[in-house]
Symmetry: C2
């Protein structure tokens, strides 16, 4: 006992092993997930190779002191090493019976990007002889040694692994053998010599001989790996705090590669792909785990065949199933275990809650409730909202996916293949001819809607998560990748280039919107059907959530889809998409080009019946649920072509001269359309447009009411920033609606409310609430204006911002709580204070983002509204927020 | 006394006349300005024709009850009419000695747009005989009668005045005379008949015969005129509340047109144009006031000539001067009095504080303090900040101005004439040739700077008060009119059309930026020199204000101007304007087009010495004062031409191929540049640009410090929305600045702060303050983003919004207190809470707007910053806010 030991205030090292460990599963913060679970296993009496865990606090001390260890750590490690020697009966550095250890990192949560495992640590030119002597297996001893050098040099010393692979290949070639396991002990001893030379040349230092030096080198490497760029960016992505740190696990080696009574494998207590309740795993006889990774051998299933573990080592198999079952029961979740069989003895190396597909997650959660293992509330927390999303869309089997040719932003989930096409007309043509097409554009605009409709997937070179393409694709539930920055589209040549490859019109590609990956050719996808289990799960979800969930749907078809996914109404029905339909777009243009109110009204009269029919369909699909209809929002120039040839064609079609049309195009041009003449500003300057829309809504409501449909129209005014704007529009709506109702002698309970999407509207919510029945946050535009980010332009620097950690994540994806969120809270609170019965929802894309849904729940909103395909996701997120 | 009288709770009618009145000057709210002042005159013993005032409360009752009068009002008016009859010895409706009255509107503040005066009310076919009998002057009697019919029919019954003018002209023609005063009594009696026919035909009713009916018709007309469109929009403009209402003044007629011992006139106690302390007025013998308006006669000065009142009626003149002096002394302000001399007897009809020019306002305020009439604080309140502005710019003599050809927004004050020019190069060419030019554009862009510089005035068809043209022109102190919506510019034909007239390149026009008027030809302007009086006044102003006043200045010349106008530093020095100079713009373009960091740095090295020189000049001019320099703000595409021929020329000049340049132009294109890749977003993606700018600033500071200049650079980061943005930029600035200082072995106290112009920055001010030494509100952009108004596009509907009262005024002109102002207060308070020593200012255009300055004072800001020419305006506004 030194003086240093006496003043030591903190314990930095925790032992684990039979019969019990100093740690436990609850100590994940201190011991990391791996260390805590191994300790728990030891305490459960499960055979784990003994070892010790150096705490995350030692790591944070290391980082805070420029790589210095806490006082006394060396002594503490030495004590535990000594304990380990006693427990195993082996000695670290012994030439007779050497103790070998594995060293692994382990943070609170599983985190790729940190240091991987180093196995067989403790070997050197002397101890390798001890290993040989003890096992009587020289080949095993030298094979273990060469593996150790390669692994340690790679992950601790930064010597590229390929150098060693190259040397091994040379040796194989020299000896004329095909595989490493054909190299004998002598050859492997030569390989070890060659490896040491490689280390010397590449790193400028000798490979460390002293097992203690090896151990401390590995510990420092684990600690340093906490701040590797990959780990840092992974933490940023998942919002794990930097101060966590990682633990180090030092564990006595057991060997699955000492002979045919040895094996190693992984197993799951249930099928992680389907959720089926069956023991499931793979193993290899006489092997070490990394042989699988190296692709040298193919593992075998643990059961169901003559070569299975069940068949070959039935007693051990039964033990394994029993231990795994005990672990699942103990942790009340599916376990993913790693095991090794050394000379007929089973060791459990680690256990963790198994990663699983969305389908499996739901099945397992429901099954476990039925088995009485967990309660319903726990079950709901076990499924991530994004897993629900995965469930609803086809995906690419990651096992069968080749290297992607490019990667963009995952704008709308799903996966689809088709022939590349660039022009909308061509897309329509090819689709009519029965081809499956993928629309590839620099960016999309409302003019491209027809092309997007017929495409199976959409791929754009520019744009962010809230670009036109992304929004529309999500609305259509269509797979979409945007902001694929390497992509160069040449419309004229009808081809795109990416990473040196060219794809022409007609070439097949596959787009995966869930990951942002783009593949050459046609890659098979898989899709899961929704079943009784899913329905049961969603019933639980609906029973606990407080937030309502509606859908953004513009068409009767969308409305039907939304209902199928459980939407409780429509939170946003955008009327402008209706305007783009082929049967009316030219009348819309005539309306815009009208020189007088009379001409405008005449054109609107033509649009009225078509618009009314749209609403009839939507109302029918939403029988008994509210439908929020937003009056015309986009600037008028979005409806008018600007390309000379299109202008000319339009002029001919609607019978105006080209000069007049060109003049109008110029007059409508705006420098910043986002901040221009749109929304209620149009309603105020051209009241007859809104009048027509109100008439269509109310006439449609009257019509379906006659058919027994229960209709609840909510008329929503966009882009309000001033109370006077809404007051005036409200007056217009009420006047027109009541006129129609009086004429039809009908009674419809309609309400009038507003988007809150301009910062000023949020700031003056108490004023605006006085003339509003409801608020609906348009968080897309609110984010644009609060940040001063144009969603069409910001992609260029937003990616950089997120990568550099300036922004934790894209604020168009997950709501920015401090800025935009502050406005949402403020407007909700002050609006309700002015009018307690005010209904408050959100209809921006954030309504389908789980983290944002949680915020909306906390901010006290009444409902969220999102794309139909996001409705189940939002339902689960709302339930989890309420738990 | 009826029962109604008994329950009457309110007094609606107030008598005035010798020896005293029921009202007083302090009762303006109830009696209106006119009524209150007439009552005050009566109480002072000044001879006013007696009469009575119907209160503003009667008007508000009338408006609130669909045109119904308060109970008992008729009785009360009848009583006062009776009192008036007793006092004058005449009877209303008498055929023997008829009482005639004038009826005038009169609100709290003088307000054009309401009902004008009706004179001679009480005349009809019978009473006219009484007037004839009493005066023995049939011509006078019938002349009064025909005037009454015309005036009453016009203002009360809505019969167009021209119909009467036409009938009069017919009569003159019939009798072969040139002027109305050549028509004798018989002819005038015929005119009266003709007039009555006109009234019958045009209005469908008989001209009212009953004097009572005449009186009540006039009262109702006055009340109704309160809500005439002109009155409503005038109130909106000056923010007078709608609930004020107007009073009605009924006053016994006195006649200045009964003979040569009669006269009428107006006088000022001091010269309202220069402020000189001399009695000043005009009068006409044997005339009624409206003869001047009709242009029939030219009034004569009251003194200084043989034809003057002084010469012709010396006793009356002395009385008039004495009474007016008494009034000035009583009201302690210059009086504008109206008087009538009836048969040798002087009557004062009304008095009010005189309207005056800016020059006169300052002179009078200073003189009155010296005379001991008012104290300094009162003097400061007597000058409107806008009058100071008027003082600093040439104006068009309103007496000599023709009809304007067009009217736009008054973007930058002053008036200037010149030849129309459309293209920048042509403007430069013509200016070099010694021509004075006016640059006419649809809108301006930074590329037009050279043209704007050489132009004497700038006129644009589009854009609002904060458009590029407006901002730059104000910065240059150059006259500018924007948003002249009728203007159609044809660049190719080199002409503009407006209201059916065409103006070609080279035609002369005159632009008045203070009013928005545009005139054909060259209209003479006048300009006032600043003098000792002005300096004295501004000394007082500076002694009371708490707010600092700085200037926005980008060049050494601007800085010198700013100092001359009393700026206490530069609040905004925009570095991008420097980038557009001819000697460097191509280097800037090379920098932007650079493919690598190295190429970019090489181009920046060329710009560095030029930029350093700019700063040297600015620092020298601001010796001893802080200079806030904003690093590069606009999106890069603003620096690159987009027109094919310009692109080609540039490509040739800087030696890149056209395709590369075109590709870059496309890559830089943004849908909403306002919300795009600019400000600190550039600094983060291209740190070397900001590094160069910091180096130039600090090197310049070191250089001038050596010359003994006291330099205080404040380096400002634009468009910050996130703490991480500012933290990173601050690090860059400090690193580069300290590097330069270490190399030069110098010590400069620089600070680093940020614009607060993105709503999110205001909402997270407590975070951002942690890494900021100062905040400067960029209220232009903050207004754009808070409202969602693009200043370049919003002009189209903002005009409509203000006209319709949806917005009380253009928020780019006067800060929107409820929305943008809330963010300003919130950021100031929360920023200071996080960092008490935080310096807070404003550098948007609002810094020069008096109402906004008042708000900034109340919000507790440290300083405002505005165009150099607005500095004295802001100083006065700040002082008035402090009073």
């Amino acid at each position: 006992m030194t003086a240093a030991r006496a003043v030591r205030s903190k314990k930095y090292v925790y032992h684990f092993g039979a019969p019990r460990a100093e740690g436990a599963a609850a100590m994940k913060e201190l011991l990391g997930g791996k260390g805590a679970n191994v300790a728990e296993m030891a305490n459960l009496g499960i055979p784990v190779p003994p070892g010790f865990t150096i705490t995350t606090e030692a790591c944070t001390h290391f980082m805070g002191h420029a790589g210095g260890y806490p006082e006394g750590l060396h002594d503490e490690v030495a004590e535990h090493l000594h304990l380990l020697e006693k427990e195993t009966g082996k000695q670290f550095g012994s030439t007779d019976n050497p103790l070998l250890v594995s060293v692994r990192s382990g943070a609170r949560a599983s985190m790729p990007g940190m240091m991987d495992t180093v196995l067989n640590l403790g070997l050197n030119d002397e101890t390798v002889q001890g290993l040989y002597a003890r096992t009587g297996n020289p080949r095993f001893a030298f094979d273990s040694y060469r593996r150790f050098i390669q692994m340690y040099a790679d992950v601790v010393m930064g010597v590229p692994s390929q150098l060693f692979e190259h040397a091994l290949a040379n040796k194989r070639a020299e000896l004329g053998v095909a595989a490493d396991n054909q190299l004998d002990a002598g050859a492997l001893a030569e390989v070890v010599d060659a490896f040491r030379t490689i280390v010397r040349d590449a790193s400028g230092t000798e490979f460390p001989h002293d097992p203690d030096a090896q151990l401390w080198g590995a510990v420092a490497a684990v600690f340093r790996s906490w701040n590797s760029p990959r780990a840092v960016s992974y933490r940023a992505m998942y919002r794990y705090p930097d101060h966590w740190g990682t633990a180090v696990n030092v564990q006595a080696m057991v060997f699955g590669n000492m002979g045919d009574d040895c094996a190693t494998g992984v197993a799951f207590t249930r099928d992680p792909s389907t959720g089926e309740r069956r023991f499931f795993g793979e193993y290899m006889v006489n092997a070490q785990g990394e042989d699988v990774v190296a692709g040298i051998r193919t593992p075998l299933p643990v059961d169901g065949s003559p070569e299975s573990l069940e068949a070959r080592m039935p007693a051990i198999y039964r033990d394994l199933v029993g231990l795994a079952g005990k672990l699942e029961h103990h942790f009340t979740d599916v376990q993913d275990v790693e095991f090794t069989i050394e000379s007929g003895r089973l060791w459990m190396l680690q256990t963790r809650n198994a990663k699983r597909t969305g389908r499996a997650a739901v099945r397992i959660a429901v099954d476990m409730v039925e088995e009485g293992l967990i309660d319903v509330r726990t079950a709901m927390k076990r499924v991530a909202p994004e897993q629900i999303d995965q469930l609803l869309h086809p995906t690419i089997d990651p096992e069968r996916a080749p290297e992607p040719i490019a990667k963009g932003l995952p704008a709308s989930p799903g996966a689809a293949s088709g022939r590349v096409v660039f022009a909308v007309e061509r897309a329509v043509e090819m689709a009519k001819a029965g081809e499956q097409v993928v629309l590839v554009r620099n960016e999309t605009s409302p003019e491209d809607i027809d092309g997007m409709k017929v495409a199976r997937a959409i791929l754009t070179a520019t744009g962010g998560m809230s670009s036109h393409a992304a929004l529309v694709a999500r609305g259509m539930g269509k797979c979409c990748v945007v902001g694929c920055t390497g992509l160069q589209v040449d419309y004229e040549a009808r081809e795109f280039k990416v990473n040196g490859r060219a794809f022409r019109e007609g070439d097949e590609i596959t787009v995966e919107g869930s990951t942002g990956n783009v593949y050459a050719g046609r890659i098979p996808t898989m899709r899961v059907e929704l079943d009784r289990t899913f329905d049961r799960f969603m019933e639980w979800v609906d029973s606990v959530r407080r937030l309502g969930v509606r859908a953004n749907a513009d068409t009767p078809e969308d409305a039907v889809t939304a209902r199928r996914f459980g939407a409780e109404g429509i939170g946003l029905c955008r009327t402008e998409h209706m305007f783009f339909r082929e049967d009316r777009i030219d009348w819309v243009r005539r309306m815009i080009l009208a020189g007088t109110r009379e001409e405008r009204v005449a054109a609107l009269e033509k649009i009225l019946p078509m618009q009314r029919d749209d609403f009839v369909g939507v109302f029918k699909a939403m029988d008994g649920y509210p439908v929020t209809i937003r009056l015309l929002d986009p600037p008028l120039h979005e409806f008018i072509p600007t390309q000379p040839d299109e202008v000319e064609a339009l002029a001919r079609r609607i019978g105006v001269d080209v000069e007049t049309l060109e003049a109008k195009v110029r007059a409508l041009h705006e420098f910043n359309p986002m901040l221009g003449h749109r929304g209620c500003r149009l309603g105020i300057t051209f009241p007859e447009v809104y009048e027509m829309q109100v008439r269509a809504i109310v006439e449609a409501a009257c019509a379906v009411q006659k058919d027994g449909v229960d209709v609840e129209p909510e008329i929503m005014i966009p882009l309000v920033g001033l109370k006077a704007e809404l007051a005036r529009m409200r007056e217009l709506v009420v006047k027109e609606a009541d006129r129609v109702l009086a004429a039809k002698r009908a009674k419809i309970d309609y309400t009038v409310g507003t988007m809150i999407e301009v910062p000023r509207a949020a700031l003056t919510a108490s004023e605006i609430a006085q003339v509003a029945d409801f608020f609906s946050f348009g968080t897309n535009d609110l984010t644009q204006m609060t940040f001063g980010f144009s969603r069409d332009d910001a992609a260029k620097f937003l990616v950089h911002y997120v990568e550099e950690g300036i922004l934790p994540r894209d604020p168009f994806e997950t709501i920015d709580v401090d800025g935009v969120g502050r406005l949402v809270r403020l407007a909700t609170d002050e609006g309700r204070r002015a009018k307690p019965e005010l209904k408050v929802g959100v209809c921006g894309e954030h309504g389908g983002d789980p983290a944002s849904v949680r915020f909306m729940h906390e901010a006290g909103l009444d409902y969220v509204s999102c794309s139909p395909y996001r409705v189940p996701v939002a339902r689960l997120a709302a339930a989890q927020a309420a738990l």
